[in-house]
Symmetry: C2
Subunit: 198 residues, 2 copies
DNA sequence: CCGCCAATCTTAACGCCGTTAACATAATGG
DNA sequence: CCATTATGTTAACGGCGTTAAGATTGGCGG
């Protein structure tokens, strides 16, 4: 079915990709706890030690999976970020929907350094790309995203909401009031943009 | 040295407490990955299966540790929340400092359900207490915290900031601009309070 | 076309983990 | 005072990440 997922002989053909896809599948099926190198290898129809030909260890596999997650997030919000008809709140809602649709993946992407290596080059590059899309809409023009408190506040608010909702720290009823919550940041951002903008 | 930490005979005396304290110590020394039931038991000078006399399994121990974390957080912010001279931003800064001083513990408290049981009675009670202190300062009077978007937005913003800083998704230089970022929420909260307040 | 090399994959083993079962010890209270 | 019960021990199970040693194979230089 898939392009190269059919293992035939001794060699797989595209095991690296197959392992990442198997990891993504296990992540959503059984949660992060269900993702083990051995389980991923099993899922890909390969022996337990085979992944070590493509990844130095578990953290590297997990980082690769998280990188795929950031790419998907970027692809999801890119059209919204460049569409002037979409508001900041629209962007936030789409972001939250991505997290709710892929809870295991999202938790991996933003989890502590236990599973992934935050300094992995591919990974931090992918996460920066996603962030800059957000900043394009939120930030004041002419400043680079990393120095601008506006986008950072927006990302933090949205990310915090997602985490607290997912881990049941705030009640699920709040799901329907997300736009209302996100809007609370708008006056502050507007004021800040006016003060510091071009 | 400690009150009852000195194991003497066959029976420990207060093993439950000792295990939680050992877990807290390992959490900060080696990170969440270094906390295993066996390591905790070892640290407490007791056999590998001894913890099962006090906890049903690893998740229950971890939940107990996280509960202690929420109690500490509550004790830290309680005086600030009830002091009218302290602003919302002061509260947020103190919160973030707690997280930075206890990164392993904080990550456990707000981590996914993999290690802890979010529905644990003690745990959710302790986390609610801490949240209500925040709401006392941020929320509009007369509404219960859980229904008020203001406190939820404030908590989300602060929590998101902490997580993104800890996991190196935003640069560490932002540490010095936290008050500036937190202030971005103030206009929105003020407006919202005026509209819906008593 | 052939032979060799490097990449890829396998099996086997190590120590660590969570958990359970069977048993030992000690504190307590009827 | 002795039996019950809470607390602790040792031993074992399967699963995990990782490494070592060897098998298989695709591809490239001759």
């Amino acid at each position: 079915m898939n392009s190269k997922t059919q293992a035939r002989g001794y060699h797989h053909g595209d095991l690296r990709t197959a392992l990442i896809e198997a990891g993504l599948a296990l992540l959503e099926r059984d949660g992060a706890a269900g993702v083990s190198l051995r389980a991923v290898a099993r899922q890909a129809g390969v022996s337990q030690a085979a992944p070590y030909a493509h990844f130095a260890g578990k953290r590297e596999l997990m980082s690769a999976i998280a990188t795929v997650g950031f790419s998907r997030l970027r692809d999801l919000i890119a059209p919204l970020a460049s569409d002037p008809a979409r508001s900041i709140v629209d962007l936030g809602v789409a972001y939250i929907e991505f997290a709710k649709a892929n809870p295991g993946l999202y938790a991996l992407m933003f989890g502590s350094g236990e599973y992934i290596d935050s300094r992995d080059v591919q990974l931090s590059h992918a996460s920066r790309q996603a962030f800059e899309l957000l900043a394009m809409k939120v930030g004041r023009r002419g400043s680079n995203a990393v120095d601008d408190p506006g986008p950072i506040a927006a990302w933090s608010l949205v990310h915090g909401l997602v985490m607290l909702l997912m881990n049941e720290k705030i009640p699920a009823e709040m799901n329907e009031r997300l736009p209302e919550i996100l809007r609370l940041l708008e006056p502050g951002i507007a004021e800040h943009t006016r003060k510091g903008g071009v």
